[in-house]
Amino acid sequence: MKQLRYMKFRNRMIPIFTFVVLALVVSSCKDNKVEQNNEPIVIATDQFHNSVDHVTQIMVHDIFSPPVASRIYAYPNIAAYEIIAQRDETYRSLVGQVKELVAIPRAADSINLPLAALIAHMDVSKSLIFSEEKMATYRDSLYRIWEAQNPSEFIAARSYGIQVSDWIKEWYSGDFYNQTRTMSKFTVDTDDPSRWQPTPPSYLDGIEPHWNKIRPFVLDSAAQFKPAPPPPFSMDKDSDFYKELVEVYDISERITAEGDDSEEIEIAQFWDCNPYVSVTRGHLMFATKKITPGAHWMGIVKIACKKDEADFNKTVFAYTKTSMGIFDAFISCWDEKYRSNLIRPETLINQNLDENWKPILQTPPFPEYVSGHSVVSGAAATVLTDIFGDNFSFLDDTELPYGLPVRSFESFNKAAEEAAISRMYGGIHYRAAVEIGLEQGIKVGTWVVEKLEM
């Protein structure tokens, strides 16, 4: 494993090195740029990956909840996709297929579409994250290179990219996100023993209780794939619900006893994908921050594209379709979460089984049923399988920067299954949420695959 990590870091050095060389070239060319400033700008596929990666890093810094993060991925991808789709017959515009999207202005023939797509991607992303200056710094470093390479080509592409970006911003401003910001908080009622309540250590309010009001891309409605309800709440020792509760506790006790040897713990931690884990040491508090489930699957898209040697347009397509699936999956999932409002295992185990028990993963701040990671992974894997085929094996190194190992998977579906069950190992979900959640995700994914002609 150490070996792999080392390899990875070495690999990551290369683009930086290239950049330094480029920068050197640029500065050394300053005197004779008249001759140098009309070379065609060629956008490498990696540059799109880099842009997505950058958005991921800013999101980790800014801290966005998983549903909000899914929105930040989807719209920039669509902006890029709509640009490249207009000149590549392999791909079809989403206009008419997703809600309220009006055809973007057509690009003049001279416009460098990949360049415009990348610019639009960065610009829409910048509008959705908080730390705009971080995106701007990254963007400006690229702008300087392109401007030096070919000012007229760059300026035309930028102008068009920004035009499309504004178009997409106008579109997303109608998705009810703004309105949901000021809607009511989740009302805690601890008199109802089945009702979700905030969990240690931060006892945060339930996040995004109105996410089901967000306009989906493809779903008819948030409740289209409404899952079967969870087993009826009961503290009767013979009830299904109680048995599932005890199962979470038993698994946790067993694998904790195994300690570092436990593959289940490794799996739980690998798929944690919690953007904000609060750590308290007395008066000192801090957060360890990771990527979200959606971001993890964006990482898998990148891995798949690279292994598949996908060209720029296919890469944009893969990101777009997967992120749209994830976006709708969150809406579908959150609709159920704040319908069933089910209490987390941690609360019940502390109340009924073991006062001092703590789950292996920190319980995220929203109701239990169904498991978000399961729904999202089911949807993402279904879309990816449609694009790259089943039994597409891959090495998943997405979590390396967060100190987690590489895991290998035979297929996207296997990865999704592992992501789902990881939530039980982590002690934050019951079995029903994981199994039914995965099914729900597959349904959302299948719907996206069938409904969208891209």
């Binding site: 810094h61 800014d62 801290i63 908080f130 730390s131 705009e132 200056e133 703004n178 309105q179 910001r181 000021t182 009511s184 908080k185 989740f186 009302t187 805690v188 009622d189 601890t190 008199d191 309540q197 905030p198 240690p200 250590p201 006892y203 309010d205 308290t280 040491r281 007395g282 008066h283 000192l284 508090m285 801090f286 957060a287 360890t288 921050k289 502390n350 006062e355 001092n356 703590k358 967060y402 100190g403």
Partner: protein
């Protein structure tokens, strides 16, 4: 020139520059305290901390709590000496050589100590030989810390022998400090050993885990059994749980029964403990009964009689910053929801992140007034020490503060820490120096407050003490230079100890009293001294372990201003014998020994009080129960709840039997109750028409014997901040027995949140009915229309008066025609003059008094024969801040253009307006602020104009409040002039008045009630007002002296019931059971 503000604009900097020039040019006014340099004193001690990768604040949460300091005369030469403990190495004992010169005798004295991590140092005569010994607590058993608490027994020759083991005091726990007291009055000195938890349990856990004793963290009560101490904690009822983060301990005979009691301050979510000594060797923890709320991250505490009533008052410190920039970049209070869970589900008490000042009410709950008294926010505070530092006869207050790194910095929590720390986690090293460096420095100037003897303080730091920024912790006071005034010594982290030499000198008179008690309690610990001069009382108790990890000079110190003699001193010795000495000259050091002392009997009050709770409550078994609705879940930024104005109460003859019945409204989803008056008491009667309306939140009601329906009519006004499309649940309605089945009629067009219904006594005029509306559902800030109408005629008109809370029909101009007076929030009281069938608004108050008015009643308070009006307002015990020069502002607009409105409050500080709340709270509603301010540093210290921008502020409607005091409108003939009530009536919002001849002297008085809880934890809980009887402007008596128990409950209505020639007081609370008191004329 002292400077507490860090972010200064250029202008400010310039003016500061000039001020500095000015300040330095008038050096002739020296500070009250001079800082003695180490070079002069010879005190080279510094508590230097060495942090490394193995030991830092991440490994040990109390890494920055500092060492200890003890002041006392160890060689009985009359000069107090100093012992400092250092956390890691280098405890020091300095002998006072006189003339403020000290000599380090640590080496020869053999008191350097051997523990790895020392905490407090205290001095006391442990073995009862008349010589002070030294006890040093240690933290042992974590992070490789070794050693034990050390007891240095005085060999009477400037050397000591460590004998902790011999005395059974060699504990290996997580020690904080030790307090000396003779709890069983057996004549020797016992010890309360305060330990602290270190575990970082991240969930609250049930409060009851305090009952499971833990050897390392549990506090211990150690009984002195001759030459050894016995741990009797469990038998004595002392908690010792793993959640006992004990940081502060104060001993005093709080309930004045002759037995010393103990207040323990616990950090984090664990409650503070208030141990009342049962006198039989056991204690009863009674916090919840006597304290409505406490500090949250409780640190040091101290006790003194600050209001000269002979009763010990308490301050408990926390870490609320005063500085705007620090305040807005530090983690603050809990959310509403978290506090609710912690109190209701886990069983903890109400705790808020600020200092708390509790004044003693003689066995009634304490009154908490830190905000009102001006001592609520002193940043990261450790030690509080009361003392009469300027010797004017009133207690002042020194507070040490500062921390080398602020671990609760919001940027560190959210942004800085993670990226750094995460890298370390990969290497299995949690943190390193570089990550630690990213926590902002929290060194701060210490505070000193001058007391006024009435419980209030003003910040005298600028003129009294140097403004050096330090991390000062343990503090001791005493007279180092023998000039009679109190000098102050602080133990500082990574800096020389602070020696503050008091320069009061002979500008004011003092008395120092050294007590020589018999038996083994040689220093007379626990002795009470009452000093009387010029008709004023000062009260002190000798408990030298005070403040924070320290003990002060074991003597009693009084200041007497320019009085040359004290009329008398009453001394009550620890064995509860008393003696009195008369005519004592001031400016001397007095040694008092027991002489002619007589057994002292503490008063047990058996005086008949005006009010006595009835046992049967007259059959009224009514508890108002609020529903689970929280307005802040919906309108996150409104200043206070809107939907907790109930319950409605009305009295009148419902069943037509000539007796007054009572209607008690329900909260949403709660049935209203009707109690019919019978021969003896009341009986609940179920009217299905009324019970069926349980969906309504009843906030006001009125029963009239109007002729409208030919019999009595019950009108119920509704409130509750709910959004329903039809707003049907907000329909006001009437019931009348003359309609079929007490038939109900909805009043047309009444779909706002109601405030009040006022009906004039004199019928037949064109209008006699006023329905004052309070707010518009889910749109706080939009003004509703109120209605004036005629009950028996068609007249009705709507007026936009404001957020109406109360109204009366009263002839204010004495012209024989009944006028209308309306009060409400964010408005001035409004007068509508009635003249021949016309109501015209007139303006008889000399100035606009924009308040948060809750209630109004006519009453001739100044006894001059005309009618004045008493007005209940928000009070001054609050973070709200308003004055005519700098009113509090509320901006109301749809700031984020999403179709729903917001309100944002701003208050003035140093000439600028700042949003009251922080970025977390504001951005929860206004997400765009997260984009505007990517970190807390950028937001902190920004004015409201900078936060929202001129453009957004332009579109807002601005509401103002310039008066927060409750008070009265003095009738001067042609105008009314507002005058504030005294401070004891400003401790909480006043919500209700009732006028009655309570004591049967033929003259009416007004009883006031209040308290309010509908605010976010940032504001705390206004729970301390016990009610007040207002007989006249000069005669006001608090409810806790009259037999009333209104503390910790929120009063909504006060009513008088007369039955069988006996008068009763009905008190109706929000979310509580109603109470009936017998009025014992």
């Amino acid at each position: 020139m002292k400077n507490r503000k860090f972010l200064l604009s250029m202008n400010k900097l310039l003016s500061l520059f000039f001020l500095v020039l000015v300040a330095s040019s008038c050096k002739d006014e020296p500070l009250q305290f001079e800082m003695l340099p180490a070079s002069r004193s010879g005190i080279l001690f510094e508590n230097n901390l060495t942090e490394n990768n193995e030991l830092n604040i991440l490994d040990y949460l109390y890494f920055y709590n500092g060492g200890g300091v003890a002041m006392g005369d160890i060689n009985n030469d009359g000069l107090p000496d100093l012992y400092f403990s250092a956390n890691q190495k280098g405890n020091k004992l300095y002998i006072n050589k006189g003339d403020l010169k000290f000599e380090d005798i640590t080496q020869n004295a053999k008191v350097a100590g051997n523990s790895s991590w020392n905490t407090s140092a205290i001095m006391g005569d442990i073995n009862g030989d008349g010589w002070l010994d030294i006890y040093v607590t240690a933290v042992v058993g974590i992070n490789g810390f070794e050693g034990h608490n050390e007891l240095f027994i005085n060999n009477k020759d400037n050397t000591f022998t460590e004998r902790a083991a011999d005395f059974g005091l060699d504990f290996q726990c997580f020690g904080t400090t030790a307090a000396l007291l003779d709890f069983d009055l057996d004549g020797d000195v016992d010890i309360y050993l305060l330990n602290h938890a270190v575990h970082t349990e991240e969930s609250f856990g049930r409060a009851q885990i305090r009952e499971e004793r833990n050897d390392k963290t549990g506090d211990r009560l150690l009984r002195n059994d001759g030459n050894t101490f016995t741990d009797i904690s469990e038998a004595a009822g002392i908690f010792g749980g793993i959640n006992g983060y004990g940081l502060g301990v104060s001993v005093s005979d709080f309930n004045q029964d002759g037995y010393p009691d103990i207040y323990v301050g616990n950090d984090f979510h664990e409650d503070d403990y208030y141990y009342l000594n049962n006198g039989d060797g056991t204690f009863t923890e009674s916090l919840k009964k006597y304290f409505g709320h406490t500090s949250r991250f409780s640190m040091g505490s101290d006790v003194a009689d600050i209001n000269q009533d002979g009763l010990p008052d308490i301050i408990s410190l926390d870490m609320a910053p005063e500085d705007e920039t620090v305040l807005k970049s530090s983690e603050g209070d809990d959310t509403y929801q978290t506090l609710k869970m912690r109190t209701e589900q886990f069983g903890y008490h109400y705790q808020y992140t600020r200092n708390m000042l509790f004044t003693n009410n003689n066995n009634r709950p304490y009154t908490e007034t830190a905000l009102l008294s001006g001592v609520s926010a002193t940043d990261w505070s450790w030690s509080a020490l009361f003392g009469d530092y300027d010797q004017d006869g009133q207690q002042d207050l020194f507070i040490s503060n500062g921390i080398p790194r602020r671990p609760n910095d919001l940027d560190f929590i959210r942004f800085v820490s993670s990226e750094e720390i995460q890298k370390k986690m990969i290497d299995n090293r949690l943190v390193d120096q570089q990550a630690l460096e990213m926590m902002p420095n929290g060194a701060m100037p210490n505070y000193v407050f001058k007391g006024n003897g009435k419980g209030s303080f003003i910040d005298a730091s600028e003129t009294w003490i140097p403004s050096e920024k330090t991390a000062s912790g343990a503090t001791a006071v005493g007279d180092l230079d023998g000039d009679g005034d109190l000098d102050i010594v602080t133990n500082n982290i990574n800096a020389p100890a602070g020696i503050y030499v008091n320069r009061t000198n002979n500008t004011a008179n003092y008395l120092k009293i050294k007590l020589q008690f018999k038996s083994k309690n040689t220093f007379g610990i626990g002795t009470k001294v009452y000093a009387y001069h010029n008709g004023s009382l000062q009260f002190k108790e000798l408990f030298p372990t005070r403040g924070w990890q320290a003990s002060s000079e074991p003597m009693i110190h009084f200041g007497f201003g320019n009085a040359s003699k004290v009329d008398s001193l009453k001394i009550i010795w620890p064995d509860n014998t008393a003696q009195t000495v008369h005519n004592i000259a001031t400016n001397q050091s007095l040694t008092i020994t027991p002489k002619n002392n007589q057994a002292f009997a503490y008063k047990t009050s058996s005086k008949q009080l005006l009010f006595k709770k009835t046992e049967d409550n007259l059959g009224i078994n009514y508890t108002h129960k609020e529903d689970n609705h929280t307005d802040f879940d919906y309108q996150k930024l409104i200043p206070y709840q809107v939907s907790d104005r109930g319950p409605a109460v009305a009295m009148g003859d419902i069943d037509g039997d000539g007796k007054e019945d009572i209607f008690l409204g329900g909260a949403r989803n709660q049935q209203a109750s009707v109690y019919l008056q019978k021969e003896n008491g009341f009986e609940r009667h179920d009217y299905p028409e009324i019970s069926n309306d349980s969906l309504f939140e009843d906030v006001a009601a009125h029963i009239s014997d109007t002729t409208f329906y030919g019999s009595s009519v019950l009108t119920v006004l509704t409130g509750g901040n709910y959004f329903t499309p039809s707003r049907n649940v907000l329909a006001n309605h009437t019931y009348s027995p003359n309609l079929p089945n007490l038939g109900k009629v909805n009043l047309i067009g009444q779909l706002e949140i109601s405030g009040v219904l006022a009906e004039a006594d004199s019928l037949g005029q064109p209008f006699d009915n006023f329905i004052g509306n309070y707010s518009v559902p889910m749109d706080f800030g939009k003004l509703p229309l109120s209605t004036v109408s005629d009950l028996d005629g068609p007249y009705s008109t709507n007026l936009e008066i404001g957020m109406v809370t109360d109204a009366i029909w009263d002839d204010f101009d004495d012209d024989g025609q009944t006028d209308l007076i309306v009060v409400g929030e964010w408005m001035t009281p409004k007068f509508f003059k009635h003249e021949n069938g016309l109501l015209t608004e007139v303006f008889p108050i000399d100035n606009d008094i924009l308040g948060l008015w809750q209630t109004v009643i006519p009453f001739d308070i100044d006894e001059d024969g005309d009618t004045d009006y008493l007005l209940g307002n928000w009070g001054l015990n609050t973070k709200f801040k308003a004055s005519p020069q700098a009113p509090m502002k509320m901006y109301y607009a749809d700031f984020d253009d999403n179709g729903s409105t917001e309100t944002i409050l701003a208050i003035e500080k140093n000439g600028k307006y700042y949003p009251l709340l922080g970025l977390n709270e504001l951005s929860e509603q206004l997400v765009f602020l997260r984009k505007r301010f990517r970190n807390y540093k950028d937001f902190a210290g920004k004015t409201i104009e900078e936060v929202l921008g001129e453009e957004l502020l332009q579109k807002a409607t601005v509401f103002e409040v310039n008066t927060l005091t409750s008070g009265f409108l003095r009738n001067t003939g042609n105008t009314f002039i507002f005058e504030a009530f005294p401070l004891e009536l400003q401790t909480a919002p006043i919500k209700a008045f009732v006028k009655y001849d309570f004591n049967g002297d033929g003259k009416e008085s007004v009883l006031a009630g209040g308290n309010y809880f509908g605010v976010i934890p940032f504001h705390g809980r206004f729970d301390s007002f016990s009610g007040a009887m207002i007989d006249s402007e000069t005669k006001i008596t608090l409810g806790n002296q009259l037999g009333l128990e209104m503390e910790h409950k929120s009063v909504r209505h006060l009513k008088i019931i007369e039955q069988n020639n006996q008068a009763y007081l009905l008190i109706v609370y929000n979310n509580e059971a109603a109470q009936i008191y017998e009025i014992q004329k």
